[in-house]
Symmetry: C2
Subunit: 190 residues, 2 copies
């Protein structure tokens, strides 16, 4: 199980077998059934999650009762409510598995400790956070620039295969339009 | 000039006088006049910028010719087109000063080198990138959740004083609505 995490770390930084052992000890590896909430609104989000395998969604419930997905987490992505994770405050988001998933969970204080014990881990986190931030900047641009249909095609091209994995109403929520609109776009493709 | 940068770094990590000297040597400190482009669409964005003082906007031009601001950079913020900075590709964004500004600029390879020379600098970048990423996650939520009027008030509360510093049409662009709509909201406040 821990190989998913270690392999991802080794894509970005060099670590020794000793580092591997230390890193593995800091994480809880958890099998999570489909549709399980890792935290819900009002709960503290005590963990940062690395998705070894599976698919999760981070969402909130809008005033009108609609679910709005702000992020998906698939294999090799990190996901949590970062502001509340850092500030130890109750979350205003929900994190839920869409598929049966394996996640590696680490608490805030463990993560801080691991940065010191294994500096290569801190470098790895620096690198992947920079990549995630860059991607969010780009997403913000697409969000403003693309039509609904273009957003769908962009997402489809950027994450081939992913579109088949998630329920269509969730994809519509993430892209910011109605399931009906998504059906229309897909029907056009024939 | 370099004290702006060093003071910000020292808010997050401990650095020695030697570190301070090394860090300062890696940056170019530049006085930039109002309305100057640091890069435009099609140019490589060779630098990551720390805003010592002033205000910048990162924007792109939509298909309909409208400018869309995706980010502001004010005192103590880092700003660039991160994906293209990292991939050494031409940018599809524009970075421009709104006020006379002082920026500290560092190239990608210098930044990579500085991570090695001064590990505390890498820690500082890890911390502030995590904070920026967390803020973007929250911004994404507000974007979907709040009405236009709520967005304005939220922005006003989150960055008191900032709203007075920038032209109203730019704030409207950032919040994703028309200058006319913004005037209406402001008129309501009396």
């Amino acid at each position: 199980m821990h190989n998913y995490l270690l392999n991802h770390i080794k894509k970005y930084v060099a670590i020794t077998p000793d580092d591997e052992e230390i890193i593995t000890r800091y994480f809880q590896f958890i099998d999570v059934k489909k549709k399980t909430h890792l935290f819900t609104e009002g709960q503290k989000c005590n963990y940062n999650y690395f998705v070894c395998q599976g698919c999760l969604r981070l969402y909130f419930i809008k005033e009108n009762g609609q679910e709005q997905i702000i992020q998906f987490g698939i294999d090799n992505w990190w996901i949590t409510d970062y502001m509340n994770f850092e500030q130890h405050k109750p979350s205003n988001l929900y994190l839920q598995t869409i598929e049966p998933s394996i996640v590696a969970a680490i608490t805030y204080s463990q993560q801080e400790e691991l940065y010191i014990t294994v500096p290569a881990f801190e470098r790895y986190i620096r690198i992947i956070t920079q990549k995630a931030y860059a991607a969010t900047q780009r997403r913000m641009q697409f969000f403003f620039d693309l039509s609904g249909e273009e957003k769908y095609h962009h997402f489809n091209n950027a994450f081939p295969g992913f579109v088949q994995r998630i329920p269509q109403y969730m994809l519509a929520s993430y892209l910011g339009f109605t399931p009906e609109f998504l059906s229309k776009i897909r029907a056009k493709q024939g």
